[in-house]
Symmetry: C2
Subunit: 375 residues, 2 copies
């Protein structure tokens, strides 16, 4: 499914292409998060026309709870349910079980937990998660893993990693023994863990690579560790992940994190940051980061960036946008979400262009400076 | 500014046209409410392209508090501030002072009140409201009035009405002695009150008509009285409002209320209902009213009305829309708001077509049945 098109000569960055039955994805790519079958505050056609999203993400934990597998199966899967005909990746739900649900109990068989919505009791096993992702019909399915917190002791990280590997093998088996439900192909990605221990990261990358998934993810980063440590771990682990398969850094990150990740050999990213921050009034632009709630924008009766193709940047004045955010108006959230996602996808397209032109190595450090500026 | 095009032969309904410097408005018309310089959850271009709104409303009370007259003046008025180049009507803020703010004190000079946001103290007078509406630059300005609650004693209603008349005269004077700020014409409408007393309603209609405003509004209805009483009062008061000027029934109402109002001689309506109810999951359609939260929609994997031109009606299944509303997703609010507003404007266009064809009298009663059906 993954085709490595070229390697950058001066960094570990790569150009690639993922082929799915719902379309081709050019990498490096960012995947907007559509937690509950909607990328928050944005309509599907806007994702196509304006954001130019090539693939979006759905959250298995959330969709398993609402609307639930029975309705999702009747609907004909997530693509049909939300009327999205481009590729979808679903996570395994493991991360949300550990971060959102109560009273969770981790055992060899799987994890039991209480719903964050109504306290009802549920169990996820490697096999049940594969089954749920079959029902969702995502193009790329993720295995169930345990994501250890930061910091974790070496012993905790080691045991957790081993469990993650055993679960990965069980997911692979369940995947191989089941069929897609809706007539299109589904792929399965493994997830390497290992916390912030280099030897564990290497061991995990090798163990997951050994299972021969369709692609490989790096889990357990961006969970509170310093940025430099995340970059160091990413740089380290990509040395042990097969070059001929896509590499996905889960839950990352800021615009700067994406550039850092690409330079260290990552092909795919997802994060709630562009949409979540938008709803709080933090906006990413080509010239840096804007806090819309800042009183400095109250009297700024001009647009921010007249050549950027969003209503946020080139139609409405900063004074108006500041007013909307200050009043918690939904329009402000929608305009900012569209801005952030369009910017994230613009940034990835820019990265791909620089890689194709062979200019990425001289472009990326100044770009990191630029996108981290506080406006 | 108003041109009466035709009178229906069998009801009091009329076809007309309002001409403003921001465009022509075909009446009868419904005006979406854009309280804080945004029609909640909808983007301005969607109002043009999809809703086909001809004029929207801004709330003077809310805009006076946020962003405030100073910023609004710098922005060049409400049209510029929110990038809306079609007509705008602003209310006087009086209604919100009485319904939202605390510690209000009514005097001959005006009304002092505390902001519902921060408790700060303010005063609205007939003259200050005209000044604020000059700053807003609305095409149609409304006079400051007192809207008595339902029920009110005859004595209260009488005294309140007299105050409203004195304030109306002061607004007219302040209007005549001031100039528009942005180079386009502004018009001023009077408001007739009188609670639910027929003789007061007649007296108020005549007193307001006497002041020779550009148009006349009916205030103080849809404040909790029975529907039949609202229809009866509307029917009564339109007999005493000049035929050659537009008649605006403030704050009304349901789709059925609009049809009833038109049949009784009303040309203009506004109401938060289509947007507010949308955000709560109540949706108006050509075939009746839908409560999206109802469990009956959970498994309804079909669209509601494939020939109605909204994503709500013809793109997404009811199961998906039910899911969005149940999860309080912004997309659900936006899709439902667009549905309700598009339906309201469709209904008004349909009314105008029936009037033009001379078929309104036989069309309107079955249509009231249809739009009040619970689906």
């Amino acid at each position: 499914m993954f085709q490595l098109l070229s390697n950058d000569s001066k960094t570990k960055a790569r150009l690639g292409r993922l082929t799915t039955d719902h379309g081709i994805i050019e990498t490096p790519i960012f995947m907007p998060v559509g937690t509950l079958a909607t990328v928050k505050a944005v309509e599907q056609q806007q994702l196509v026309d304006q954001v130019k999203a090539q693939i979006i993400l759905g959250n298995t934990y959330h969709l398993y709870l609402r609307p639930g597998n029975s309705i999702m199966r009747e609907a004909g899967g997530l693509h049909q349910f939300m009327k999205w005909d481009r590729p979808i990746l679903t996570d395994s739900g493991g991360y949300q079980v550990f971060s959102l649900s109560g009273n969770r109990k981790l055992e060899e068989r799987g994890v039991t937990f209480k719903s964050h919505l109504d306290g009802s009791k549920h169990q996820f096993t490697p096999e049940s998660v594969v089954e749920t992702e079959r029902v969702l019909g995502s193009d790329i399915m993720m295995v169930l893993d345990e994501c250890p917190p930061y910091p974790s002791t070496y012993e905790y990280a080691l045991n957790s990693m081993k469990l993650t590997h055993r679960w990965a093998a069980r997911c692979k088996k369940a995947f191989d023994e089941s069929e897609p439900l809706y007539g299109h192909r589904q792929f399965l990605f493994g997830i390497a863990q290992g916390s912030t221990y280099k030897d564990l990261r290497q061991a995990s990358a090798e163990a997951i690579a050994e299972l021969d998934f369709d692609g490989n993810a790096i889990g357990g980063l961006s969970v509170g560790e310093p940025n430099e440590l995340m970059y160091e771990m990413t740089d380290h682990i990509t040395d042990f992940l097969p070059a001929e398969k896509a590499r996905y850094l889960m839950g990352v990150g800021t615009p700067a994190d994406l550039i850092h990740g690409v330079a260290r050999g990552v092909d795919m990213f997802d994060c709630v940051m562009p949409t979540r921050n938008a709803r709080n009034g933090t906006v990413f632009t080509r010239n840096g980061i804007v806090n819309l709630r800042n009183a400095k924008w109250k009297n700024h009766h001009e647009v921010l960036d007249e050549s950027f193709p969003t209503d946020f940047s080139s139609k409405y004045t900063m004074a108006y946008l500041h007013h909307l955010v200050r009043c918690n108006e939904i329009l402000g959230m929608t305009l900012a979400s569209l801005q952030n996602l369009t910017f994230y996808l613009w940034l990835m397209a820019e990265i791909r262009e620089q890689l194709a032109a062979g200019t990425f190595h001289s472009w990326y450090k100044p770009m990191i400076e630029r996108v981290t500026t506080r406006l």
